[in-house]
């Protein structure tokens, strides 16, 4: 059998190399890692590019699965192909050890809300041993191809928090403690309740980050799944019927057990265990037909229900963009419409996950996660430590590129650079510090389409998340900007303004004609204005509004100064040529790195400089009485960004003067 599998693998690899050389090479490179395991020959199809090769042998020999699990004691688990095996094995060994220590006490209780080493195992595998590249990325194109109960990763924004879920985390199966962590469905029959522990996990509804630009995806390669689709699906579908039968009978067994004396369950742990677990393994392996076509529609929103364990509640925030590594589960039994409609009682107790059918929304039991910053999208950081000279060089090239895109308008290019480097640094009550929204005036429809499109496509290539919003009466009156909680379904309905931190929004206000705004339009403009002024979005929770803090860069293109969107910096745009240039990939790469690096540079404060700036401000105010709090505050913001744009860690008077000069040039234009 093993030989057959090897042959099949070889055949496959040849094909694969023809079709997609890189992926196969990738697989081969990493393949040998687990071959030291004595049993590795048995489930070797899993080894090199294990997801490409469904283990036909394994599913045909269910008994072996059980055996294997028991034998897997060493560190060599198939972490990608069978993460649950690793989870259970670690648990059982740790629990056994704890039980021995506590002399017949309840070892599992100690693991409530704690990791017993499984997550640590995965963490070191993914981040330290370079396992990250072996973990396939779950996305719309391969959902349905990835085998359930394998390790996947998923990038997504936390769109909604669905609360907690209680599950039987640990239970005693005969004399050993077993765990249900990281699964939806227990392969074991549930024992007597007093032999189990109820644990909780957090549910998050995640979607691909809105406005995520395509370049960010390139930098996160994983094993290519697409090629293998035929193999898996045909293979599995053939067996489907049989599997179904078997699982049915298993289910019967289980329930019969439950109806019997509970002690009976305890008496025959061995057979029961093996039997049931094999059934469920098969079930889990089958790929549903339900999710056939619709998931593969490109661009369709592909959401994922992520279940996170053992985490303080406030660690993950709404709209965080997170990379999850976890067990992808799919259980056709759970996918079936779960409750009969007569059961009105359940209507309200029903949790929201019902509206997220597993066939469309995959479940991911998260083992390890990390928040994604814009840094993480850059595949090749040029150097480890950003030196001012290097940054200055990139700054110059980026600035000259901006100048060209903006038709030789250097002032506008300077402002654009500052704008793109701005971020929310501080919030004091209603005052926000550090934001710099930009308003280019002097556009008409024609020039907006020329320069605007150029500008927008450039921004798209530079920042991770960006969106262009056509500001027209119709848009304002119809678009749903405000995220709204639907208390009926218990879900947060996303609005356009539910954005990840650090998003960039470009508004084309040249499309705005005079006309009547409906109340929705008024509401939308208020939302936008509030976003501009305080970087906050009110989420509608029906009985009250909940303010969510955001950090969004806002760029407006308009004919005159935009009053609907009161930007911090208004720059009349004066192009003198037509934009032509295109940047090559390498340059783009370095610019992205530059923007991400500079934005995250810390700022030190030097009291002397600030004293000088204070004095300068006072004299500036004496010269120009029209200077107000907002202008001066903006100057300081700009000066700080200016300083960091040169890679400086602290603001010097020189940058302050540069900003003042910039302001002078800008003022000249406005007059």
């Amino acid at each position: 059998m093993a030989q057959q599998a090897h042959q099949a693998q070889e055949r496959w690899r040849e094909e694969e190399q023809e079709m997609a050389g890189s992926a196969a090479a990738n697989g081969a490179k990493t393949g040998c890692h687990y071959s030291t395991h004595p049993l590795s020959s048995l489930h070797c199809p899993l080894v090199p590019s294990r997801l490409a090769f469904p283990p036909p042998l394994e599913s045909q020999t269910p008994a072996r699965e059980g055996n294997r699990r028991e034998e897997m004691v060493g560190p060599q688990y198939d972490l990608v192909g069978n993460p649950l095996g690793a989870v259970r094995a670690t648990f059982e060994t740790t629990a056994a050890a704890a039980a021995a220590e506590s002399e017949g006490g309840d070892p599992a209780a100690a693991f409530r809300g704690k990791d017993w080493g499984a997550c640590e195992l995965f963490r070191s595998f993914i981040f330290e041993e370079g396992g990250i590249d072996k973990v396939p990325v779950l996305n719309a194109s391969n959902h349905g191809l990835i085998k359930p109960n394998t390790l996947v990763r998923y990038h997504g924004m936390v769109q909604d928090m669905l609360g907690n879920e209680y599950y039987i985390g640990a239970f005693k199966d005969g004399s050993t403690w077993r765990t249900n962590k990281f699964t939806d469905f227990s392969p074991f029959s549930m024992p007597h309740p007093c032999n189990s522990h109820l644990w909780e996990r957090h549910l998050f509804h995640c979607v691909p980050a809105p406005g995520q630009n395509s370049w960010t995806l390139e930098s996160s390669p994983g094993p290519d799944m697409r090629r293998m689709s035929n193999c898996i699906s045909t293979d599995v579908r053939e067996k489907r019927k049989r599997d179904g039968e078997q699982s049915d009978s298993d289910a019967m067994d289980v329930s019969e057990n439950r109806d019997e004396e509970s002690s009976l369950v305890c008496k025959k742990p061995k057979e029961d265990d093996v039997h049931v677990s094999s059934g469920s393994t098969e079930v889990a392996e089958s790929v549903p037909e339900v999710n056939g076509g619709e998931c593969h529609i490109p661009g369709s929103s592909f959401s994922c229900l992520v279940k996170i364990y053992d985490m303080p509640d406030s660690q993950v925030k709404l709209n965080d963009v997170i990379e999850f590594f976890g067990v992808y589960t799919f259980d056709p039994e759970l996918a079936a419409p779960s409750d009969n409609p007569d059961d009105i009682m359940l209507d309200l107790i029903e949790d929201v996950t019902v509206q997220l059918p597993p066939s469309k929304v995959p479940r991911l039991h998260c083992l390890v996660w990390r928040k994604l910053l814009s840094h993480d999208f850059i595949s090749r950081p040029p150097v480890a430590e950003p030196s001012p000279t290097l940054l200055k060089g990139i700054r110059q090239s980026l600035l000259s590129h901006f100048t060209m895109v903006l038709g030789n308008d250097e002032l506008a290019a300077q402002c654009l650079l500052l704008h793109l480097l701005s971020r929310l640094r501080n919030r004091v009550d209603v005052v926000t510090v550090g934001r710099l929204s930009l308003n280019f005036t002097g556009f008409d429809r024609e020039s907006a389409s020329i320069f605007g499109n150029q500008l927008y496509s450039l921004i798209q290539k530079l920042v991770p998340y960006s969106q262009a919003i056509p500001m027209s009466i119709e848009y304002l009156n119809t678009a749903t900007l405000q995220p709204r909680k639907d208390n009926k379904s218990g879900r947060l309905i996303p609005g356009v303004l539910q954005l990840p931190q650090g998003s960039h929004l470009t508004f084309d206000e040249t499309l705005l004609q005079t006309g009547a705004l409906t109340s929705k339009g008024v509401e939308n403009t208020m939302l936008l204005k509030n976003l501009m002024e305080s970087q906050k979005v009110d989420y509608d929770f029906e009985y009250y509004k909940l303010e969510m803090a955001t950090d969004v860069q806002l760029l407006t293109l308009s004919e005159g100064k935009s009053n609907i969107l009161p930007s911090d910096l208004v720059v009349p745009f004066r192009p003198s040529s037509v934009p032509t240039v295109n940047a090559d990939a390498e340059e783009l790469e370095s610019w992205r790195w530059y923007l991400a690096t500079v934005r995250s540079l810390p700022q030190a404060n030097e009291p002397e400089t600030y004293q000088m700036i204070q004095d300068d401000m006072v004299s500036a105010m004496r010269d120009d009485r029209s200077l107000g709090c907002s202008e001066l505050s903006r100057w300081l913001t700009m000066a700080q960004i200016m300083a960091s744009s040169f890679g400086e860690k602290s603001l010097s008077l020189e940058h302050w003067q540069m900003v003042k000069e910039l302001e002078r040039l800008r003022k000249e234009r406005t007059q």
Partner: protein, 1005 residues
């Protein structure tokens, strides 16, 4: 246990019924085992056996069926029930895994327990717990019988001999109304902490015993009492945050606060089933629903029949109880930053159904439960996932976190407001009261208001007054006086006006923040829409109505459309919004304080122009603001430096805002809402005197011997403002009496505002005319002089009916004669005035002298001054322009005359209709009726004196009528805006049925 579960209906581990009712822990008296278990096992904290018990599914707790079945009668039933209950304990399962046994309390042997439980010498434990049935039984009985409210301790009253709960039980029995006994958990704790902790940890068991004890007690007092009384525990020692509920809370009593967001419909739940034999028609005895299922009899019980499988359920003979599920969501203040609110389902039974509705904030005491989920309708497997809900025991509505929406405006609500007084926890109130006694509370409050906004202390004081508000007053006659204070902030850009607004919006109840620019009239007022489904016209209200009893913050007031602004006239004085559209005429309450902020027209305040010119708002509207603050950016090195420092410190990420003693936001909100709700200050006599004195002084100030001109310094509106302000100031101190110092401070505030806004920049005096008309007295003087000079010149230079003269020539002449600097537009307006007099005719640039005619215009003006009690207000000022056709002018001769007891006077300087042609005059001018007697003959009024005459700044050629009637009392008869054309209806012989003044209706038509 297994026989029990399996025997009733085999495969129903998770039948719907089983899930509907409470899946229950197995309670178990285990007489065979007590010795073993009392052996002092270790107590395990978190892992209560009940945490996982729901997976048993098929077992239901005795409490519920027991508690909700008033079957049987009297003591017998109760005893029987208890015996049933104890008897129902299934045999011990083989291995009780977790035990929390504690040796029974030593006082178990007390003789109080004369019920059945005490008879048994062996302690009976509820399985898996440290609950000894007898002990608990005894403890509960002790509690019910002997608990005495410490608050009653002082009183000596024979009735008080009985404990608090015994009295409550007696009350229930007497009234036969109550079906539940509310038990304050604090009382339980005070009496017996052990019982309390048992109750919280094992509520199902303890409450079941509680009910039994209660029923026993009742049965002994009143054997014929049939109803079942339930125990409702409330007011737990600690309430848990919804977010922090976790598996260890399962099967425990919890108390959570939250907001109801959804309610299900009422679900009837079967309690007793009655079966009928299909063969013989025999009705079975009512069969109790036991643990969520009914055992259908297999055989007809009638001796003669004995048919098998013939029983059928008779629905209308069954007994059902109500059930409802609500969803409870966390309150916004409990949500951590970047989180979304959690929800939990709450199961309500019987009387609790519909106790709360969506949007209510409630505190719920109940038992946290979990139940397992079946995988599918056909599968019998159970998922490892649990659903959780709370079995509600008690529901209490709590107060809102923002300011109280209820206001004293609603006199009908006064009764209701008393009952909610408890909402403010007494210790909180004490703290607030302590705060109010601080000598510097006023300053402290001022500092606490928007502490990050820098300076502007007087403005903040004004805003504070607005938040506290004056006393609204409604007279029996129906006249009502607003207590809301309206404030306008005008100022240079960048003076953090918007931030102040934002802050106020956050602070105030039902605060609506809107921008004048962003809002159409629709958004600001109410409008009418059609329901898309039914086609019915539906009223929808906008910001002003929504902010009823709140503060409506209007940013960029100057940018607001005229349409929307005109709506404010009514809102700011009448406090209603009237709509007459699509056949619906409605007046909606909009008892809102308006806080508006505006930029000067030229973006920066031009000190050379008058306020009106700077703000460019209709004077009528302007006068409705109690306080108008000019926030100007003055050149001052000191302030500049502080500003610079402030900005820099903001950017330094260590904003060193002065560490002053400020109240935090929640305290401030609580303080304000308490004051608004419970403090209704009244003017003291001294304060009233001071008010009168100050007012008179203010008015005198314009007439001081030094100044030649008569400048009006205060109007009756100001005195109302003053009263409101002083009331608000008294409220800040939680004082029921408005004292002199409040009045003095109110004067100061008004003056601070007025000095800034109502300064006549030509003379430096305060001139309310400036606010009202936009023209200062000195400017008017100048114009009058100019008109006189022009008249002289025209008389001198031009022949009657002679050739016309060009205006430029005239100007040249004027300049030669006069020392004044004269511009062409000055001259033009002067000539315009002359034309209204009928002295000249203007054709383009040509001026022609006209044959004089007798009095072309009648100007009408009436005024009634305020009295010392200014709430009986005030002034009526009306000016009326009539067409220059003497024949059509049916009343009055030129000169001063008296109409209806009021002083009227012809104004020579009023503009005239430029066309001057009689044909275009309205067809009929109806005589103006005399002022209604109610107004004219107010007995306490002193002799009328001229108050003011208002007129538009720039005459519009279209205008034939222009009206302003200031309000009388709180009624505006006509609220026609200045400068808007309105026609007198030609066919209407009766001039309107007006409310107060008699002629309003027709004009505004």
């Amino acid at each position: 246990m297994a026989s029990n579960g399996g025997g009733s209906s085999p495969p129903s581990v998770s039948s719907p019924d089983a899930r509907q009712s409470s899946p229950l822990p197995v309670t178990n008296s285990s007489p065979t085992e007590p010795t073993r278990r009392s052996g002092g096992r270790r107590r395990r904290g978190s892992a209560s056996p009940y945490a996982s018990s729901p997976s048993l599914g098929g077992f239901e707790t005795p409490p519920h069926p027991g508690r909700r079945t008033p079957s049987g009668a009297g003591a017998g039933a109760a005893r029987q029930q208890r015996q049933n209950w104890t008897g129902r304990f299934p045999p011990t399962p083989s291995t009780p895994m977790s035990t929390d046994d504690i040796p029974p309390s030593s006082d178990a042997g007390e003789d109080e327990t004369d019920g059945g439980a005490g008879v048994d010498a062996t302690p009976i434990f509820v399985w898996g717990t440290n609950i000894s049935v007898q002990d608990v039984n005894a403890a509960i009985l002790r509690f019910l019988r002997h608990f005495r409210d410490p608050r009653d301790a002082g009183r000596v009253d024979p009735v008080m001999d009985e404990g608090k709960y015994m009295r409550a039980i007696h009350r229930i029995l007497e009234l036969e109304g109550g079906e539940s006994l509310d038990v304050d958990a604090h009382d339980v704790f005070d009496h017996d902490p052990d019982l309390y902790s048992k109750m919280v940890r094992y509520p199902l068991e303890v409450l079941a015993i509680f009910d039994i004890v209660l029923m026993d007690l009742v049965a002994r007092i009143e054997p014929l009492f049939e109803k079942h009384i339930q125990t409702r525990i409330y007011n737990l020692k600690s309430s848990i945050c919804l977010r922090n509920l976790n598996p260890s809370d399962i099967e425990k009593m919890v108390s959570i606060k939250g907001m109801i967001i959804r309610c299900s419909s009422v679900i009837p739940e079967l309690r007793e089933a009655v079966f009928r034999c299909l063969v013989c028609g025999f009705y079975s005895e009512p069969i109790m629903v036991d643990r969520g299922r009914v055992t259908e009899p297999h055989i007809c019980q009638k001796e003669q029949c004995k048919a098998t499988n013939s029983m059928t359920l008779v629905h209308n003979r069954c007994r059902f109880s109500d059930k409802q599920i609500i969803k409870l969501q966390e309150t916004p203040d409990e949500i951590p930053e970047g989180g979304t609110p959690h929800t939990v389902s709450v199961l309500m039974h019987d009387k609790l159904v519909d106790a709360g509705k969506p949007g209510d904030r409630v505190e719920i005491t109940g038992i946290y439960r979990a139940m397992s989920i079946r995988v599918g309708p056909t599968q019998r497997t159970v998922k490892s996932i649990f659903k959780t809900y709370i079995d509600c025991l008690h529901i209490k509505k709590t107060d809102k976190s923002r300011l109280h929406v209820e206001d004293t405006m609603d006199i009908d609500n006064s009764r209701a407001s008393k009952s909610t007084e408890e909402d403010f926890l007494s210790d909180k109130v004490e703290k607030l009261k302590e705060l109010s006694k601080l000598p510097d509370i006023y300053d402290r409050l001022t500092r606490s208001l928007a502490p990050n906004i820098w300076e502007l202390d007087d403005v903040k004081r004004g805003l504070l007054c607005q938040l506290f508000g004056g006393n609204p007053l409604r007279l029996p006659s129906g006249a009502s006086f607003r207590g809301d204070i309206n404030i306008l902030l005008v100022g240079d850009p960048g003076t953090s006006k918007s931030q102040l607004l934002q802050y106020m919006h956050k602070l105030s109840p039902r605060g609506i923040y809107t921008s004048g620019r962003g809002s159409s009239a629709v958004g600001l007022t109410a409008y009418v829409t059609k329901d898309p489904e039914t086609g019915e016209t539906v009223l929808e209200s906008g910001a002003l109505v929504l902010s009823d009893k709140g503060v409506c913050c209007i940013d960029e007031f100057d940018k607001m459309s005229d349409n929307a602004r005109s709506m404010l006239h009514e809102v700011m004085e009448q406090q209603t919004v009237s709509i007459a559209k699509a056949g619906i005429i409605a007046s909606l309450n909009a008892r809102t304080s308006v806080l508006a902020c505006a930029n000067p027209t030229e973006s920066r305040y031009n000190p050379r122009l008058s306020v009106i010119d700077n703000i460019h708002l209709a004077p009528t509207l302007l006068s409705r603001f109690d306080l108008i603050y000019l926030i100007l950016d003055k050149a001052d090195e000191q302030t500049d430096r502080r500003l610079a420092k402030h900005i820099v410190s903001l950017h330094f990420e260590n904003p060193n805002l002065e560490e002053l003693e400020v109240l935090d936001l929640p305290t401030l909100v609580a303080y304000i809402s308490y004051a608004r709700k419970y403090i209704q200050p009244q003017l003291s006599d001294e304060a009233a005197e001071e008010l009168t004195r100050g007012y008179v002084e203010m008015r005198k100030r314009g007439n001081s011997p030094g100044s030649r001109k008569k400048v009006i310094t205060a109007t009756a509106r100001q005195i109302e403002s003053l009263i409101r302000l002083s009331e608000a100031l008294a409220r800040m101190r939680f004082s029921e009496v408005v004292e002199v110092r409040d009045v003095v401070e109110a004067f100061r505030l008004l003056e601070v505002a007025m000095q800034q806004s109502a300064t006549d920049h030509a003379t430096g005096t305060i001139d309310m005319d400036l606010i009202m008309t936009g023209i200062s007295a000195s400017e008017r003087q100048r114009r009058e002089n100019l008109v006189a000079a022009t008249r002289n010149l025209v008389m001198e230079k031009m022949q009657l009916g002679g050739p016309s003269m060009r205006m430029i020539e005239l100007l040249e002449e004027m300049r030669k004669q006069s020392s004044m600097e004269i511009h062409l537009h000055d001259l033009r307006s002067a000539l315009g005035t002359l034309m209204t007099e009928g002295a000249v005719v203007l054709h383009g640039d040509n001026v022609k002298r006209k044959v004089p005619s007798s009095s072309p215009i009648l100007s009408f003006r009436a005024s009634l001054p305020h009295t010392a009690r200014p709430t009986f207000s005030t002034a009526v000022a009306a000016s009326l322009y009539l067409h220059p056709q003497p024949s059509r002018c049916p009343w009055g001769q030129p000169g001063t005359t008296s109409l209806g007891g009021c002083h009227t006077r012809l104004r020579p300087d009023l503009p005239i209709d430029e066309t001057g042609r009689p044909d275009e005059a309205p067809a009929a001018v109806t005589p103006m009726p005399p002022l209604p007697q109610t107004l004219v003959n107010q007995p306490r009024r002193p002799a009328p004196s001229t108050c003011c005459l208002t007129r538009p700044q720039q005459p519009s050629p279209l205008r034939q009528w222009s009206f302003l009637l200031a309000r009388t009392g709180n009624h505006i008869a006509i609220s026609e805006e200045w400068g808007r054309p309105c026609r007198l209806p030609s066919s209407s012989p009766h001039v309107g049925r007006s409310q107060a003044l008699g002629w309003g209706g027709a004009l505004s038509a």
